[in-house]
Symmetry: C2
Subunit: 321 residues, 2 copies
């Protein structure tokens, strides 16, 4: 069994070797630029770990891990166009550097390369793996669409927000684990528990992400907090506050969101604290984390084989940065 650190370094070495064709460089340079920006490579490592839970990591798991990471990068390139994001990992986004059309098209072609890696896997698993992959890809598109829809809505309820997060973020983590498990010969039951583990972990992760952006220690997380509040982003905290706080607090929040007020961030944070959205978020995070660990517990393999996944889950969700 291998740790997240070991596998992510090994994957990075493997992924670094990916080169797109030289020509047309106006198509492939943007793709190459983006995958070289790096990232934590969590999804491919989840695929490798899901595979290693049942056997030694096989070649099919490497191909699929590569496909998953290419797919994830493709979605980020397109998301950045839609969100008009100037920066990604501290560097100019693809559309900022190469223009919208090249970003759109190099995203498209990266998606094809994902299927090319997927198509390298053993015939016995090909149908099933593509089915899971397609199903996930559709959900990720749906999640991004819901995210854009919700940003335009005045009110979004918690169930709707959870559903969007599940589609946009969680299902790809879950599917990465499941794909690794399928390729390791796991039973349907084990695949399902592992999938649910990934899904619950993903939601816990997003709750923490929202929490840290509001209440994290800027020194520890390496960036200024309050970014979500500044950009009026819908988060677990904001949605909960609007659902549970008093009418006057709600009015105050909406006033602060719809204007250019001094100390907007501090004032909204104070309301979050007053209606205990911070405590609630930590409890909700722990609820999903507990469910995730129950799911992992239910996977019928020797407990020692699960250690790397447990460590990764702790690392992802207990992290303070």
């Amino acid at each position: 069994m291998h740790s997240f650190k070991f596998l992510s370094e090994k994957f990075e070495l493997h992924f670094e070797k990916i080169h797109f064709p030289d020509e047309p460089s106006s198509l492939y340079k943007p793709a190459e630029y983006f995958i070289k920006l790096g990232g934590k490579r969590i999804r491919p490592v989840l695929c490798l770990m899901g595979n290693e839970l049942f056997d030694e990591i096989n070649a099919d798991a490497w191909h699929t891990a590569t496909a998953v990471e290419l797919f994830h990068n493709f979605t980020l390139i397109h998301d950045d166009i839609m969100d008009k994001a100037p920066l990604r990992r501290g560097m100019p986004t693809v559309h900022t550097k190469f223009g919208d059309s090249s970003a759109l098209l190099s995203g498209d072609v990266m998606f094809v390369f994902a299927y090319e890696y997927l198509n390298k896997i053993n015939s016995a698993y090909l149908h099933k793996a593509i089915e899971v992959f397609n199903d996930t890809a559709k959900k990720v598109c749906e999640g991004q669409q819901l995210d854009m829809d919700y940003e335009k809505k005045d009110e979004v309820d918690l169930d709707g927000y959870l559903h969007m997060i599940e589609l946009k973020t969680s299902v790809l983590l879950a599917a990465s684990l499941k794909l690794g498990a399928i390729l390791g010969g796991a039973t349907q039951r084990n695949q399902d528990f592992l999938y649910n583990f990934g899904k619950n972990l993903g939601i816990a992760f997003q709750i923490q992400d929202d929490y840290l952006d509001a209440f994290g220690d800027p020194q520890k997380i390496g960036k200024q907090t309050g970014g979500d509040i500044k950009s009026n982003k819908k988060t677990f905290l904001l949605i909960h506050a609007l659902e549970t706080c008093s009418e006057s607090q709600k009015k105050e929040i909406n006033k602060l969101l719809n204007g250019n007020h001094d100390n907007k961030t501090e004032k909204i944070l104070q309301i979050f604290r007053d209606c205990k959205a911070d405590e609630w978020a930590l409890q909700l995070k722990n609820k999903y984390l507990d469910e995730a660990f129950n799911d992992l517990e239910a996977v019928a393999v020797l407990s020692t084989r699960k250690e790397p996944l447990k460590e990764l889950a702790q690392f992802l969700v207990q992290r303070e940065y």
Copy 2:
């Protein structure tokens, strides 16, 4: 054996039944809107014909024909964004009607649905079919990128333009035929000849398209001619004229392209005629059409089985509209 008319009507009935999920409607309505705009459905019919050349049309060929048409529609949605095209088939383009982001994302999800149909085919052919499909998808992206690159260039040579047309237009026609053939159990040799038939036919078709836009009878083609000249589009005619006409004619063309001149279209058409670009284009079209028919001739099946493909080729390339 079935005619193009019969198969295109049958495919249309089949394709009409495709429905995307109801929710999120902001994602799937644009996709549904676009595929309902219609089209000649040439590519899926080529897939069915490539299949019927070797046996009765099987279920796999229907799945693949659907995948090919969904892929084609996905590329059109994204191309329209990149080209900022207001209309497609006389109706507002997806991005005009639903916004750029929804057009981008509904194109992405349509691409996933293409792979979903492809994944329905028999395991024995799945690897090979996806390989051909991926290879083609990459080339189509490359072709679109080259097209955008060439539009910005002052000079493009004929070889470069032919290469772009091959990638952007021809390979998908060729691959549709080849996929049908693969699923009909064709030999590699027959697959290859059929692929080349489609490739040459595609180039002949594009030459004719460029020719008719300049010299066609507006009554017969149902639209005003000269659109390519008005929009300074690079075409076979323009590239040939710039390569072969005199220095003074070349200067005149460039002057006309780089300004807002009266009778620009008529003046450029006259230069095309003076340097015989019109005759040259018809000869070049016939050269590719002859090559296409030679390729079809070399496919080792009974000559009578090839009749529908011959008719379709004649219909596509001898057409006056």
